[in-house]
Symmetry: D2
Subunit: 338 residues, 4 copies
């Protein structure tokens, strides 16, 4: 951590600050510059609060050097983490996983049918929303427990592990019992109480990046879960909020090499919510595989127009199957398989 | 709602769509354009899902005409709402309320002392965080229940109603019992389960705008709470996330006239979290009052450098008092008082 | 174009507005809604100014239906445009072009050497900056004419066409004489006078997307050039400005399928400026090819650390060559070649 | 400047780097941390290019400590700059200036009439566009020279100095001859060649902030002009681009105290282009004055609905006059006058 002080900081203040930091277990090296004095702090600076330090009237700026995450940090865990989701392995040099399914579970028959289509196409996991995060209170909120149980039926019939979004901690037991991969939605990425609760369960978590959260904040959200004891976190990029109007969000594929460089966690891509337009999903999926992603999570619906939510971004099963075929070829080029 | 169809949409498809919409209780007027056909839908279109309609291969675009909010909409509730927080009225032509207090409650003595300062300076409500939303799991997470009770003590001594952030629904009972105004933090603005739970209690809610949520999404979050039965919502702008690096967030003061035009809810401003820099708080506070805001919520700390969180944006009591004095003068010019 | 009027708009005003629009050559269809009246305008609405219409106190909203671009619009020009840059064809089903070279021309020997490396690696065009857009007036501003002539030398030795950024119209003659592809930089994307001037020359233009310009504004900038008479425009995405701090910009690869759907112009990607980090360039380049891009423009420098500008994002020749090899394999999968 | 090196950087590399920097005239202090080594550079680091340094494979991060601007920096010029625009003084403790006028000059009579209204209302300068930056090539581009001369006539009749936007350097002579304050538009804020040209003339410049430029980039644009020899720069905030849809841009009023803290230049606010909605202009204008702005530049039109551009954000003369009256009262509170 580097602290920049105004040039005319009184000596007694400088001495007081140095003592203060040493008391907190960090060593202070001072460099005198032309217009500033600089403190270089060495030691465990993770617990220092830069906003508190910046409150000091003589402090100009505080710059963190070390990344604030440890458990997720590849520097301390050089090997890739491979997360096992009920037999499907994600990450490292494992096969690229393709997860498919509808935005919302609309009934048992419906989800079982789509599950068959997803499996036939080459998908290895089934997604489906039982509890839906809707911007409007008047929109369909999801089938709830009934939806979860319908997905369980679909798993029984196809063998596909299921991933579903958990909206609040009061349903954790239901999810731990029935769901293979618990999804934390974009709008809950910084629902810290939910993250802490998931840190205490023994179940893999799919952590979506928030609408406008930095990669660092996203990794820190994973750190919350891991700090609780649950190391099984898969990251999922789903597009970030920008000024662009032609897409629902802006898919940030640079996260793939960045996450792989800075962390050891697997990273998958959701091109459906990112683009909001089924016509863009294939191109973005192939791009994601070429970039090195560990997987894709794609919305599939037999009749997108009939979908109870997010139909515009859903692929019909035939297109989903075709995408997986092309994906296989791309995967091979980058040394992976599907 | 306006639906744009491709020019060459087959007649059977047009007929099918019209029947579909009529079945959902809306009337369809069709306009034939040079390169597009347009449906003008009339009726209760709030429940129609535009993403589902856009899934249709013949649909080019869907544009909503009516705002999706009803309960919060001034069109259906022309008079200002005045929210009563244990005797302090917020909104309409009531006095502009100034809420002050530390970011975190750090102890009973500390919060009682600051409460006295806030009251002496002219503040009418006390803020303080007992449960803190921290980006890092290693940072101070708040005193919890102890902190809430310390704030209760401060209220007993000063008579100031207290406002504090509720992080998750499992503490609702504690807050309903002890807190006068329950705050929903920026990162929880779209924690829909929390909003639904707050919709069921009889306690005013202070709803902060999310880091990167549109004004419309923000009003819809208020709509969630109101739809549950709790009409007592006060909105709070705290800066939005942008590319600018010199400030922590970008304070969007245009929300003041916009919220007043479109809704009947009170709107207050948090210049502390918005700017992240105590040196900017006064200017932004006076600007907010001049713009017509119903109140301010400002961080105050006797020793910002010692603050356990967000010290850099906290004002010392003397500066807080001075700000209130200047604020009185501005308020008078715009026909309000403090 | 759809115009939404307040429900209580007086009839005389409605009549006046209808006459006004008819006089401008558009036909008006009116739909009466529950809370709004809606005008559907049919005809050539491109010349109508929505900001002027919105000034009317009875108008709530104006929504354009047809895209504002015509010359660039695929609707009116269904076949791909193939732009010929001194023998190198870009677009359609032509080979994916890879353009390489340093950020700045630093000397004749330097640029000739890099040109040889670029050619040997498989690049088909040479980039290099003679006039540099620097945020600071104290930074190296480019070699100017000397730099252009050095690039000419490099072309003589290798046969590679050259692309370079034109900063202002006063150098147009110099560029028309010496440069094969004239680049308009991100910060000049809406320098309308420069666009108009380039519309009058017979030389292909590489139009970079602005830091925070929408895809629609970008296509309209191309429309400026095409409206002047110069149809030879190649679009280049170089990352947009967002809140993310780990990358210099956010590379928006969704532009590839979007540009191809809405326009007939070729689209290439600049992963160097987008990411600002050479370690991310390969992954993003392969992703771009997989997404369907018509080309890449990549910074290459023999000694990035010595580079006079933007060294951090430059690839060494060996890495550039390796990237092209991998790119060939990806291209094959998506039905193209390199 | 602080440079962070990886912990395992080989000693010969460390030695080489240190020599390299010393040769460039800066002194290097090294601090050894737990996981990183840090160089603290002391001396004139302005000319060092951080992107070039970051190209070194052992460098993790480069952080600038000193602001990159000097001429605009208050640290080196503690007194406020007061810019004299043909007798109207802007900045420091001078009166807050209110500039009014139409978006476009539409004729001599029109501009002379509005000029009278602006003057009668209390405005002290007349704005008007003769050369318009339009997103579409099909939109009205401005009256050109005829428009400039019409504004000259308006000045002759009212005595109001005139401010108008210069789109390209080829019209500089025309502007130097006729215009009192030359405006650089948002889309030209980083048109470096234009800035350099304006640096050479002896005429005040009104520099608008770019759509998505940071405050630092904005000040550096001013630095370009000042470095050329022209110290007379007034900054103008006109809203930045964000995700919000209810406003045309997001007005960032925090720039007022920030610009005053970091620079000595005057700062005025354009609430018209910022909000895009005349109904928001008054509230934002009063807020700007309360925040400490040195002036306002507001669009005024007798018949906004008839305006040839940007009608929706124009105020009618009566509203403009009323705004100025209220503004006077606010100004008094903050120790200024109008």
């Amino acid at each position: 951590m580097i602290i920049t002080l105004k040039k005319n900081t009184p000596q007694p203040e400088i001495d007081r600050l140095i003592k203060n930091f040493e008391k907190q277990g960090v060593q202070v090296n001072m460099i005198s510059g032309a217009n500033y004095n600089v403190f270089g702090l060495v030691g465990d600076t993770a617990k220092l609060d830069e906003w508190r330090i910046m409150a000091n009237e003589w402090v100009e700026e505080v710059t963190r050097i070390a990344a604030p995450y440890k458990l997720a940090n590849r520097m301390f865990h050089p090997e890739d983490s491979v997360i096992n989701v009920s037999g499907v392995k994600v990450g490292g040099h494992e096969k690229i996983v393709v997860i498919g399914g509808p935005c919302s579970v609309e009934g048992e028959t419906m989800i079982c049918d789509i599950a068959q289509e997803v499996k036939a196409a080459g998908g290895v996991m089934l997604r489906g929303g039982a509890y839906k995060p809707r911007t409007s209170p008047y929109a369909f909120q999801g089938m709830g427990t009934e939806g979860v149980l319908a997905m369980v039926k679909a798993r029984e019939k196809t063998g596909l592990p299921i991933v579903s979004e958990l909206m609040s901690a009061d349903k954790i037991d239901e999810f731990v019992e029935h769901v293979d991969l618990i999804q934390v939605g974009a709008r809950n990425m910084q629902n810290f109480d939910l993250l802490k609760a998931l840190g205490k369960v023994n179940k893999p978590v799919l952590l979506k990046r928030g609408l406008a959260n930095t990669i660092e904040e996203w990794i820190m959200a994973a750190e919350y879960i891991m700090a609780g004891g649950n190391k099984n976190v898969i990251l999922c990029e789903r597009g970030i909020r920008t000024f662009e109007k032609y897409t629902r969000n802006t898919l940030d594929l640079s996260v793939v090499p960045i996450i792989k460089e800075r962390t050891h966690l697997p990273i998958i891509i959701d091109p459906s919510h990112a683009t909001g337009d089924w016509k863009l999903v294939e191109a973005m999926s192939l791009a994601a595989i070429a970039a090195g992603a560990d997987g894709l999570i794609i919305e599939v619906h037999s009749c997108p127009e009939c979908a109870w939510s997010d139909g515009a971004q859903s692929l019909k099963p035939a297109k989903f199957a075709s995408l997986i075929e092309k994906g296989r070829a791309i995967a091979q080029v980058v040394g992976r398989s599907l």
